[in-house]
């Protein structure tokens, strides 16, 4: 295994994150927007794991048995948990809306404004 600057991971993550944001901005389909948000969460996950590794390795040099970095990977785990819960509720909302207006186009959501 070779040297891999943390910046690469950061840039990758930021790029994914940005793509997610652009997706949220450009799409009108609520489900796709939601998927883009999931993409953003995954970008975070990548970054967390990368940082976890980085910190672990920094500590590893001093102490072979270190558990530094575990917390970030567990954080990723919790993010996934939460994402799953969010998806449950989110899709329920989308389905509910679809039942009422037969569309998931967010541009139709403009009864509430000003």
């Amino acid at each position: 295994m070779q040297v891999m600057p943390i910046n690469y991971y950061i840039f990758l993550s930021v790029a994914l994150f940005t793509i997610g944001i652009v997706g949220v901005l450009t799409r009108r389909n609520a489900i796709i927007i939601f998927m883009c948000i999931e993409l953003m969460l995954n970008a975070v996950n990548v970054l967390l794991v990368a940082f976890s590794k980085m910190h672990h390795l920094n500590a590893f040099a001093a102490d072979q048995l270190t558990t530094v970095g575990t917390e970030a990977q567990l954080f990723v785990f919790f993010i996934m948990v939460v994402a799953a819960a969010e998806v449950t509720v989110g899709l329920a909302i989308i389905v509910m809306l679809y039942r009422n207006i037969h569309s998931v186009d967010i541009n139709f959501l403009n009864r509430l404004k000003h």
């Binding site: 949220v24 819960a85 909302i93």
Partner: protein, 458 residues
């Protein structure tokens, strides 16, 4: 810890209560009992009686400040249940489920009252947010409610993404999720920490509906069933603020000067947007939504200053703001029409309730001898004490003056205008409702005359 446990258990209990009884009233009573239970559980822990003792690995830690905050929250919750119980029953198909969700939210609030780790913050905020998405959309056949739910959900999820990214950067910088760990280190912010800070700031601003991340607020508050708007705009918002200040004090307290400009900008924008836009509103409900933004502007000032004065004052602000808003929303929920004109002649038809609403509005406007005055007062002192950016309090009071304009429109409608068709007279207020309203008024006036009753506890 007690309150987390009790509220979760009570949530589960209510969840099952729906199977046991179809009597909505008894479910409400159960919820009220639950609120009392949570309140007393928290109070017991404050007095030193903890139901259980586990090692949280320092992820949760409660100090008196947290406990008093929770007391305020739980007391508000109790008032909320007492005043709005009937509305919950009417709005919700299955009130037991809704009450359960509210109790889950309460447990989330208890978590973020004591978080020391970003993980707990994240979990707490999610436990609060997810039931709220549901509550916002709980009037399922109402398209406005649907719309509110979806908007809230999409934007909430988006802001969660921002927060997580921020957390990731902070972790990358410091290698830990503990607040103390983040706060340690250089006094000069590294880019990682700066980016993390900004991202997490944005997401917290979103949660407390501070401009320019407030856009969801008016739509969601307006669209949600009034009874849940009340809950969201008061108790939940207070909790979000508590998390906000706890996070920024814990994680960035040492480098306060380096992010204060951002908060000043946020404060100014929030004050201006909230107040100026509220002036235009014709619907009281939507006006209150904007007013909640405006009030958030004042609370952000506390975070901007972040000294002892600010921390104490914020809790007072929560109490003042929550009690007043809950009472007004409770009345609003009983009115079919939410326009300002719907309040015409209200004072003549219901003098007592009108008087309480009057006191609440005065408190929101920050008129002395109400709790709202001292709340705002503490914020101003905190900012002035901070010693920089004197334009901020000046802007704040100008905005407070503007706020008088829209709050007093309701007062004018209630007291100085005649009703057209006797629509307000048809509304019935039960005597228990009136009693609770009077309690609200007394709380507001009591805290307005002698805020030390609360402040001494902090």
């Amino acid at each position: 810890m007690n309150s987390i446990l009790v509220s979760v258990l009570w949530g589960i209990l209510l969840m099952y209560a729906g199977f046991l009884t179809k009597n909505k009233r008894s479910i409400s009573v159960l919820a009220v009992v639950g609120a009392v239970a949570v309140l007393s559980a928290n109070a017991l822990e404050y007095m030193g009686l903890s139901f259980f003792d586990i090692d949280t690995k320092g992820m949760l830690f409660y100090n008196p400040y947290s406990y008093i905050f929770l007391v305020v929250i739980h007391a508000s919750l109790l008032l909320y249940f007492l005043l709005s119980g009937t509305e919950v029953e009417e709005t919700a198909a299955t009130p037991s489920d809704h009450y359960a969700l509210i109790f889950f939210v309460a447990s989330g609030i208890s978590i973020i009252a004591g978080f020391k780790s970003l993980l707990m913050l994240f979990l707490g905020i999610e436990i609060i947010s997810i039931p709220l998405y549901v509550l916002a959309g709980s009037d399922k056949s109402n398209l406005k409610s649907n719309e509110a739910a979806l908007k809230y959900f999409l934007m909430g999820a988006f802001s969660t993404g921002l927060m997580l990214m921020g957390i990731a950067f902070l972790y990358g910088d410091s290698g830990t999720f503990y607040l103390e760990g983040i706060n340690m280190g250089a006094t000069e912010m590294s880019p990682l920490k700066a980016i993390g800070g900004v991202l997490i700031l944005a997401s917290m601003a979103f949660k407390v509906s501070a401009a320019p991340f407030h856009f969801w607020t008016p739509d969601v508050y307006d669209g949600s069933p009034t009874v849940f708007t009340s809950f969201m705009a008061t108790i939940v918002k207070s909790a979000a603020f508590f998390a906000f200040i706890k996070l920024f004090e814990g994680a960035f307290g040492k480098i306060q000067g380096q992010w204060q400009v951002l908060l000043a900008v946020i404060t100014a924008l929030t004050l201006i947007v909230g107040n100026i836009t509220a002036v235009f509103q014709q619907s009281v409900k939507r006006m209150l939504s904007y007013s909640s933004i405006a009030q958030a502007g004042f609370m952000v000032m506390g975070i901007f200053a972040m000294n002892l004065m600010a921390k104490q004052g914020l809790v007072l602000y929560f109490a003042a703001y929550s009690v007043a808003s809950i009472a007004i929303f409770a009345v609003l929920a009983k009115l079919k029409d939410h326009s300002v004109d719907a309040f015409n002649g209200f004072a003549k038809a219901h003098p007592l309730v009108a008087a309480v609403v009057l006191i609440c509005l005065l408190s929101l406007a920050g008129v002395p001898l109400t709790a709202g005055f001292f709340a705002k007062y503490y914020m101003l002192v905190a900012v002035l004490k901070n010693g920089t950016m004197y334009w901020l309090p000046v802007l704040a009071i100008v905005c407070a003056a503007v706020s008088v304009y829209y709050y007093f429109r309701v007062i004018q409608a209630m007291y100085f205008k005649e009703t057209e068709a006797g629509s307000v007279a048809e509304i019935q207020f039960s005597s228990s409702f009136k009693v609770i309203m009077v309690v609200c008024a007394l709380l507001i006036i009591g805290l307005g005359i002698h805020p030390d009753w609360l402040m001494d506890l902090l």
